[in-house]
Symmetry: C2
Subunit: 314 residues, 2 copies
């Protein structure tokens, strides 16, 4: 097995485990599965029976909370109590910034939740990443990377793509890309008109923090040779530019953020650096960059009287 396939398996460790299906339970809101809940989280939610109905087959948000605001408020109250109990490491990184919780990306939101908490419920989350690159007359194509600040809540001090950010409540995809490019790397608006939408990657990672079914909207941005990114929000330690052939060792190193490797791999595939003739596991790797996250929770659940949830494909 090639080192790149091993990397693709690493950021898909939860997908390839078969979702630990015997241990995790579907999380149901308004009859729709929106996530998966691990046993460690279940043991805490059981203390909030007025909010979560835990049965043999699933964890259901009390259907008495009928609207977006009501559901968001109740979940927020539980999460703040759990944060105060200091049980989950991820809740130490409280952001006061929420992600939407939906059945599919393009459907209406059922509730919102602080972004540090979505991994406790296996909620799909969405972000944008910008591959900033130049075409150097001697060195050829070169790609910019950022080193994350040592004070970041997640993956401090790790190397990462030039610009990325989560899609929080109230912000669009292109809007987030523009905002992050300006905040993280001081890319002026005049350069952002070259920003090109280039697809997405989807993968399902698990860590001690929780579950990460992640989809990244991917953008390429060709930059002038003399542009040097400068951080404006204190979240970046430094930037570095590398000839494209040196990017593989970069993302394979232990100081590269595991969940940012997929976007770089996708860039190297699309730009002809990783090819079917130099990478034996080419097809498997590309399939692992696009796992069917929009489908995995695509079930409508009927909650039966005996508490067993039955999933139907809709």
């Amino acid at each position: 097995m090639s080192v790149l396939l091993k990397l693709a398996q690493k950021f898909n460790c939860f997908y390839l485990s078969g979702f630990h299906s015997s241990e995790c339970k579907p999380f149901i809101v308004e009859g729709f599965q929106v996530g998966l809940i691990r046993p460690d989280v279940m043991r805490q939610l059981i203390n909030f029976p007025e909010v979560f109905h835990i049965t043999r087959g699933c964890v259901e948000l009390n259907p008495a909370f009928r609207d977006y605001e009501g559901r968001s408020t109740k979940i927020d109250q539980v999460l703040r109590k759990l944060r105060d109990k200091n049980i989950f490491v991820t809740l130490k990184g409280w952001r006061d910034e929420c992600y939407e919780v939906k059945t599919e990306f393009c459907t209406r939101s059922l509730l919102k939740m602080d972004r540090c908490a979505t991994c406790l419920f296996g909620i799909r989350n969405y972000g944008v990443t910008i591959n900033g690159y130049i075409r150097h007359p001697q060195k050829g194509q070169c790609l910019w990377f950022q080193k994350r600040s040592a004070t970041k809540q997640t993956w401090p001090g790790k190397w990462d793509s030039m610009v990325s950010g989560g899609l929080s409540v109230g912000h669009g995809i292109f809007e987030t890309a523009h905002k992050e490019a300006m905040e993280e790397a001081s890319v002026p608006t005049s350069l952002l008109n070259k920003l090109t939408s280039a697809g997405c990657v989807s993968f399902y990672f698990e860590s001690e923090r929780g579950l990460f079914p992640n989809t990244e909207f991917v953008f390429d941005l060709e930059l002038p040779l003399d542009f040097i990114p400068e951080n404006a929000d204190g979240e970046v330690e430094c930037f570095e530019i590398l000839p494209i052939k040196q990017c593989l060792p970069k993302i394979l190193a232990p100081d590269f953020k595991t969940t940012s490797a997929p976007v770089v791999l996708d860039f190297l595939v699309r730009h002809g650096v990783i090819t079917p003739e130099n990478e034996p596991d080419y097809l498997k790797i590309i399939e692992l960059l696009h796992i069917p996250l929009q489908n995995i929770y695509g079930n409508h659940y009927h909650i039966k009287e005996n508490g067993v949830a039955i999933g139907d494909n809709v």
Copy 2:
């Protein structure tokens, strides 16, 4: 649902049917699943009990045929008999050109089979497609298409990508891309050094002919403004070039080859024409361009005495 998602569902009709799992049986060679067999094919194979062992759980190629040549010869004999009986429309297109039959793309081949017959066994097949394009100073990016000759065995008279071809026995991926570019469109070697590997698409289509789990290795080729493709092998009726914004109506029209639409969709995604802001089903479409074909048959089968095959993930 958007028209593009409907198209992606059309070329994935078999994948989205759940592989008609109650009707189709795994096709097993040397203990590995390499395909799926529909009931109409099963009814014919039952007449060759010395070649195919058909049980409740699967169809197994007689394990007494122990090597590549032996297996290939036996299957070839059966296929020629079936061709003479005129039962399967696909066998009328006999090519005298074989595809390899493997458990995974990068593993050794277990046997070879005429390319017109692989759809009867649901064998994964592989091809190359070249997106030939120009950057026009006024019209912007424009993409070349070919109209298939009216005498082609499959999809006669339909519109298609500029250049494509199946990966037959003995030919490499880049080699096939170069060969087809020269034969189908007279692209000179001097222009082929700009050929850029750009990924792959995978989908699972079904038609009256059979089952098509297809993977296409995708190449982009920027061409000079004054290059006009000319066919050299009689398989193309004509070529046409379209501004990139007019490509969506082209692939949505009924005279476009359904199984060539994925590569064009992927091109339009990678080049920023289809974006998450103009296509509501963006994520689902991209996932349906990369279904996990390398995994679906990834089982090692133990043939039990009672004839029921048990699959284990390997």
